[in-house]
Symmetry: C2
Subunit: 474 residues, 2 copies
Amino acid sequence: MLNETISTVSASEEVRSAATLDNFFNPKSVAIVGASATPRKLGTIVLENMALQGFKGEIFPVNPKLTHIGALQCYRKISDLPVIPDLSIILIPAESVVETLKEHAEKQIKNVIVISAGFKETGKEGERLQDQLLAVAKQNQIRIIGPNCLGIFDNASRIDTFFIPRSLIQRPDYGGVSLASQSGSFVGHLMDLASFEHLGISRVVNYGNRVDVDECDALYYFAEDPKTRVVGLYLEGITDGKKFLNAAAYCTSHKPVVVLKTGKHESIDHALTSHTGSIAGRYTFYKAAFKKSRMIEVTSEVEFVDTCKAILSLPRARGNRALIVGHAGGLGLTVADLCISEGLQVPEASGDFGQSLREGTLSYASVTNPIDLTASGTDDNAQFIFQRALVDSDFADIGIYLALWGLPQNSERIGDILSDVMKKSGKPIVVATLEGKKCVEKRFVFESKNIPVFFSLERAVRVAKHLTEVPSYS
Amino acid sequence: MLNETISTVSASEEVRSAATLDNFFNPKSVAIVGASATPRKLGTIVLENMALQGFKGEIFPVNPKLTHIGALQCYRKISDLPVIPDLSIILIPAESVVETLKEHAEKQIKNVIVISAGFKETGKEGERLQDQLLAVAKQNQIRIIGPNCLGIFDNASRIDTFFIPRSLIQRPDYGGVSLASQSGSFVGHLMDLASFEHLGISRVVNYGNRVDVDECDALYYFAEDPKTRVVGLYLEGITDGKKFLNAAAYCTSHKPVVVLKTGKHESIDHALTSHTGSIAGRYTFYKAAFKKSRMIEVTSEVEFVDTCKAILSLPRARGNRALIVGHAGGLGLTVADLCISEGLQVPEASGDFGQSLREGTLSYASVTNPIDLTASGTDDNAQFIFQRALVDSDFADIGIYLALWGLPQNSERIGDILSDVMKKSGKPIVVATLEGKKCVEKRFVFESKNIPVFFSLERAVRVAKHLTEVPSYS
């Protein structure tokens, strides 16, 4: 184990507790309280999304006014259900939720997602309702996600309780990244972005007011979850620093965790308080906590997606020395500047080693690093440099390849070349490119080899930096 | 005049000197020495690109081995030309360039672009050739762009001497931004990016080894050029600090200049030296020079394009207080964090003013700034906030609108609303969005009103910051 303070933490209780979340993520049967057939109602959209997501278990719509929704039988109330569903999703107005939850308790339902808004986030009366909700849950050992949340989107178990139509927010494909988010709007739009960016997603949970299930539960659950290979966490504020630190350390001792914290600056605390009723607190504490638990901190939604994607597909970097290879002097220098600004090293290829790089490049190529193969350089030149500097020697820990397609002699072989070097060296190569027509067309050259492509030099360099922050799990 | 040290600088000589550049940018007749009909030869590509660019003047191909290229008569040598062309483009091997230049001198040709490589950038022998080239030019008052350059791409006069086929590097549409770049690869690929990003370009010049015409000439010329409204400058190193500072100050006293400097870090000086034979020098000098001359410094190719685009279309910000408006709490907070990190203020809407914002928003909206209209908020709510905080009051200097299309009640009216507020207030509104399918589809809503859209929160925030750095020209 990488972090010694982690392995000595006994987390058995928390892990057991997190196991009670399994019915949220892997239910065999789901009740939908407030299911509807009226266009644009939340209960209609969620029912539709469950179908579109391809949920294979049983669905029990609950609505006193309907006997059927489509082919599904509809139930008047929870007590009428023929079985005890593994999970119930509540979509009815806030003032009826507590009463409904009591019926859930009688039916012995143990996992409930309360999508409904109108609780603590709306003021005193809502806070009272939320307290009652929590009391009923505690008394009956019911685990609750929400209220005021989107719930769960799951590509493994095919759950989708997000009440946003797919025409407005696309759903991402299946993959190894699981996300936990306090903010619904953040994670909702992030799914759209993940879909656009081809980031493979396993499970997503948004707990909104998080009366019960919170980021700590998610971290323990994802730590143990075989479907999850990388965890992404969006955080506004936490309530128990020690609990968070333990959960974070436990999760990062199993798999990499990427974190985006907002509300960093005290001058906007006012906005955070009114947003989800939590206090951001001193950012310095969070920063220290992320560092101590070896979470990988990012600062924007794009960097969040990019970093998750890179960690999912590329090996970690064992050091921070970058080799930059391309066919363009000025852009290579820009990459070098960005690397140094981000704390990476750009070592000079000097002496005998530097001379040896001339053997497989054009006489007028610049081979001191950044390497400019020149506009006449070939894929063979690139292969030679990567092989010599990453495989045959330990000149650098990470490669950055500047993929520009404005040159006739560049071929699609480069995908295989980079893939092969990564296999042989165990070192990552980050592909940086520009958002031009040809470069976008050619992204498949790399993506078909499972090598992500970053459409800005800065995005690529940030990713390279974060790859140096990934813990070792060997 | 904004910068008092500028208006007292007598720049008449430099401006007169820059006027001799006019035949580069506005020639009526062009000789192409080394024009060819052989596929993929540079002389073929440049001739083709001049035609594709729609040059309306006369073209005189020069090649001793051909009598015609297509419908054009081809001349054996420069002395055979029936007129004195305004501009000559030389594409023949380096070792023959000096001899050819002497023929140009005899023919009284005063403006020559030497595309050919093989000069100082290749070593001692090349340096000797370059010195000879310069001597002939000086002796005969010939202005030279190059050698080892792409030359000029011009959407106003329809010149394109770039030897990269359009199938590999797209050409941008016409617009008010002119670019000067030491690096050919940088500016070549930037044209591709500008095309993809719909950045309107007027003139582009790449001077490579800059034996004569350099960034200072370009700055004086663009300062006086009526087609140029914003100048973008890519810089590696300069040779004369005082000369540069004067040119920069002169140009920024006429129009905004965006600058990207590479080779910032001494640890990569080795790469810069071998790249274009210049020394980057201390970055602190450059940083001070940019600040003193009120150039707007950016750090990446994407920020370069974004900033040019924003300055071209949006009013400058007269202060650094940002109003953030959107329908998403978490993403609004992310924007606020990024703003503060970039040195913008996010003032709290408190007291009576804060209360007054409640009049036109939903009861559960968060109106302290960042403003979260909530997922149920409407375009009317957004209009109300912008009107009150930017037009009716001076709460902020700049607006950032978070355009997310995952909400059914958001309409295309928002384009008109933002446009109207900007007209009334004279303040800029920067549109931030995510790269999701719907958001990309809807970019036209803003772009049809000449409002640029930035597909990442960080890109939008950086642009907002740079709008506060634009000098006043009123």
